[in-house]
């Protein structure tokens, strides 16, 4: 049984009472009267229930910063289904990639009968079941009651905000959407809910942004960041403060380094990997190598491949029992496409090992990962390798074990670099890997 803090209850009640007197929605929602709806598990967790409350009660903007592995996609699906089936609202969901849109649609298909996936006619059909796939012309919200339409942000931009106008727009992976795109989505709904991971790689913008340098509300910024800067007084922030993927050791490293404003806790059930000698592998560890040939030095990719290979056949222990780790349980993450390609070649006989760049593996997880440090091989730290978002993605894909392959010289490179926030973050991470580095022989 859960005991609710009295202060929090009264606070919410005050908001509900005061807010209900403010105004009425433009279209009265037809709420389902009964307490049963398939997504009702959203009420089981006070944080997700809080998001539902904020959106349902009419907060114009709700931002949900989430830790890695906090269950963002689950929240989006539960929230959309609840708002549609329980609150009777028309809900738009904007995903940032076609894969994410299909994933949300699949989850929604299990939670509600009212979901549709808006999908372009070009290209391959979406890999979805139990959800209606519609083209631009066929997409409509139900004439009465609630409904959900899922599409990519790019697809929404080509949709008609008059015929597909909705009550609430949920933006998944919102830190990968630009503020400019959020404005377009705003034409569809007076309410937005932004769910995403603030520590990851910023939106990919190919054009120059120098015109808006220094602006806190620049169009290329991650949508929630600029939204908070522009409309702080109108924004409700609900933090998803539990990670179900990262263990305590990784959380202790990643949270202070990359999420200073988002304290979060590991709720992952105990998991570990035991090597062939019976030793329990640390949750996250690093291995220094002498690197003289730059980022493409073969020693780096060889070590990644060898380490990934060595993990296969070790024992994974979870709450469900113990089993052999297979190639499908292992991921190798590299900063550069060429490095990933080389590792992929070295592991060609293990096709199940996922090998990719940070951008490619964003949002994915495996029990074990091998990470090629983004500054390995560099003697002059550059923007690409220093990007904290990239490092954060790379260090937060694993559940039970991560091995970070590093360049012995990186610590000295960081110490001689011009101080900056990115350098500070990397130094923090480096110091946690190598607290006794000063004793190294660096010759």
């Amino acid at each position: 049984m859960r005991t609710m803090p009295p202060r929090a209850v009264s606070g919410l009640q005050e908001r509900a009472t005061a807010s209900s007197a403010v105004s009425v929605p433009s279209r009265a929602p037809e709420a389902v009267s009964g307490p049963l709806w398939r997504a009702r598990e959203i009420l089981d967790d006070p944080i997700t229930a809080g998001v539902l409350y904020s959106a349902w009660s009419g907060d114009p903007a709700v931002i949900c910063p989430a830790a890695p592995g906090a269950g963002k996609t689950r929240l989006v699906a539960l929230l959309a289904a609840s708002l549609a089936d329980r609150a009777g609202l028309r809900v738009g969901v904007a995903a940032q990639t076609r894969e994410q849109a299909a994933e949300i649609a699949n989850r929604l298909g299990r939670l509600t009968d009212s979901a549709q996936l808006l999908w372009g006619r070009k290209g391959s059909p979406p890999p979805v079941q139990s959800v209606r796939v519609v083209g631009g012309v066929g997409a409509r919200f139900p004439a009465t009651g609630g409904g959900v339409i899922v599409a990519t942000t790019a697809r929404w931009i080509y949709a008609d905000h008059d015929s597909l106008g909705c009550d609430v727009m949920l933006v998944d992976e919102a830190w990968q959407a630009t503020y400019a795109d959020l404005g377009c989505l705003g034409a569809f709904a007076a309410q937005v809910v932004c769910v995403g991971d603030p520590g990851q790689i910023a939106p990919v913008v190919t054009g120059s942004t120098t015109r808006w340098e220094g602006s806190a509300t620049a169009p290329h910024l991650p949508a929630p960041t600029a939204l908070l800067a522009a409309h702080k007084d109108a924004v409700t922030v609900v933090r998803l403060t539990n990670t179900w993927r990262l263990g305590p050791q990784t959380t202790a490293l990643v949270q202070p380094a990359f999420y200073p404003d988002l304290p979060f806790t590991s709720r992952r059930p105990p998991e570990h990997i035991t090597d062939r000698d019976g030793r329990v592998l640390p949750e996250i560890t690093a291995r220094p190598l002498p690197v003289r040939g730059g980022p493409s030095d073969p020693v780096l990719v060889s070590e990644c491949a060898t380490s990934a290979r060595a993990l296969i056949g070790t024992q994974l222990t979870t709450a469900e029992g113990t089993r052999d780790l297979t190639d499908r349980d292992v991921m190798v993450v590299c900063p550069h496409v060429s490095q990933a390609a080389a590792v992929r070649a070295l592991l060609a006989d293990l096709p199940g090992v996922m090998v990719g760049t940070a951008n490619a593996v964003q949002g994915m997880e495996r029990p074990a990962s091998v990470v090629l440090h983004p500054l390995a091989g560099y003697r002059d730290p550059a923007g690409f390798g220093l990007d904290p978002g990239r490092a954060c993605v790379m260090l937060s894909r694993h559940r039970a074990h991560a091995l970070v392959v590093t360049d012995r010289a990186t610590g000295a490179v960081l110490n001689h670099a011009e101080p900056s926030e990115s350098i500070r973050i990397h130094q923090h991470v480096w110091a946690s890997f190598y607290p006794d580095e000063s004793s190294w022989d660096t010759t």
């Binding site: 005991t3 609710m4 929090a8 606070g11 919410l12 209900s20 403010v22 009425v24 929605p25 929602p29 709420a31 307490p35 009420l43 006070p46 229930a49 809080g50 539902l52 409350y53 904020s54 349902w56 009419g58 907060d59 114009p60 391959s124 931009i157 080509y158 503020y179 400019a180 795109d181 404005g183 377009c184 989505l185 705003g186 034409a187 007076a190 937005v192 913008v205 190919t206 054009g207 120059s208 120098t210 015109r211 808006w212 509300t217 620049a218 169009p219 409309h231 007084d233 109108a234 922030v237 609900v238 933090r239 493409s296 060429s338 390609a341 080389a342 070649a345 060609a348 096709p351 490619a360």
Partner: protein, 386 residues
Amino acid sequence: MSVEWFDLGLRLAARERGGPVERLRHAPVAPGAARVWVAASEGASGVQVRAAVPGGPVGRADGGECLDLLGALGVSIAAPEPVTLVVEDESTLPALVALARASDPASSRGVVAAHVGWWAERSDFPSGRAVLDVVQACRSRWVLGLAPSAERSLSVWAQGVEDERAPLMLAELVSAGSPLPLLAVLVEDELASWEYAQTAHAEGRDWRHPDGTGRAALGLRSRCDAADVYAAALLSDPLYRERAVHTGHVVIGRVVEASGRRIGVECARLDARLRPGSQVHGWVGGVAGGSLTFGGEVLAASVNGGRLVLSVAVVGALPGHGDAVTLHDAPPNVGGQVSGRSRYRWHYAARRSWLTTGRAPVAARREVPLSVLVAGASDDGQEDQR
């Protein structure tokens, strides 16, 4: 071979030859337009400017008179055609913008200042039609037998030229020959933006005003579209493609499977940037080019026996089993880009949302069942920013 080795090879070839080696066969700069070279520096009495047009003498001015000098050289928003600003460094344009911002819009300098404002906005666009940094343009077209950092100086490109108007000569050189094919698209956009700026000036709108939400959003979209077109323009250059093979942007391979309109391409390298879902342009033949061209979409990518195999659904000419093929990302659909910008404009112009107008939102409250309120009440992660 890595791209670093490829670049080093070009540099060594330039050193051996004792002259520049081409990176591009086409000109990376759009032709046409009148040009004015300007070099600004900080002097004791403020900003000092040297400026000239092709064939003309070098004029000098300082402070607010710099704008008068530019006006005398034909820089005016009221002129029928825009003038290309030729610079040799990154500091001249900001200095001119500072002068323009400080000028009186109602004075005769207002028309010059508005043109400078247009330069400032268009300097983010890559055609080189509004603002041409000759050193950057030379570096994109040629490589010298020097360390990369040495190439950032005008003097190495204008070696032996005593004339301070050397940037104008280099501008002529770097734009000689046929331009990259898609540059015409960027020029068209440039001219449309010039007309917009002229209209805005005629209607009394001040270019100094910061961008509103919609204008900034559309500006970003335009910049990204232009950057994507320019990236595709570079891929249409055969010399650029030689290098792009080593970055994974161009894929060479051989057809190892052919079934209906679907082919499997075994790639020569593993580091292809083409992914499932990528729209591709390809042809039968090597990286230099070929006659049988086709389009398509990458359906799957897999590694078989250490070789990357891309499964491609083909539209157009159908390569046969065993054919050597070259693939790269399909160029952006320019019509689609225009349509995308128009949708953007339409969404923002609707002004139905506080997000598009930038105004503070007014909450439209709904009643919430007690069960939801109670379930969310113990959330200690929630924080109302109000």
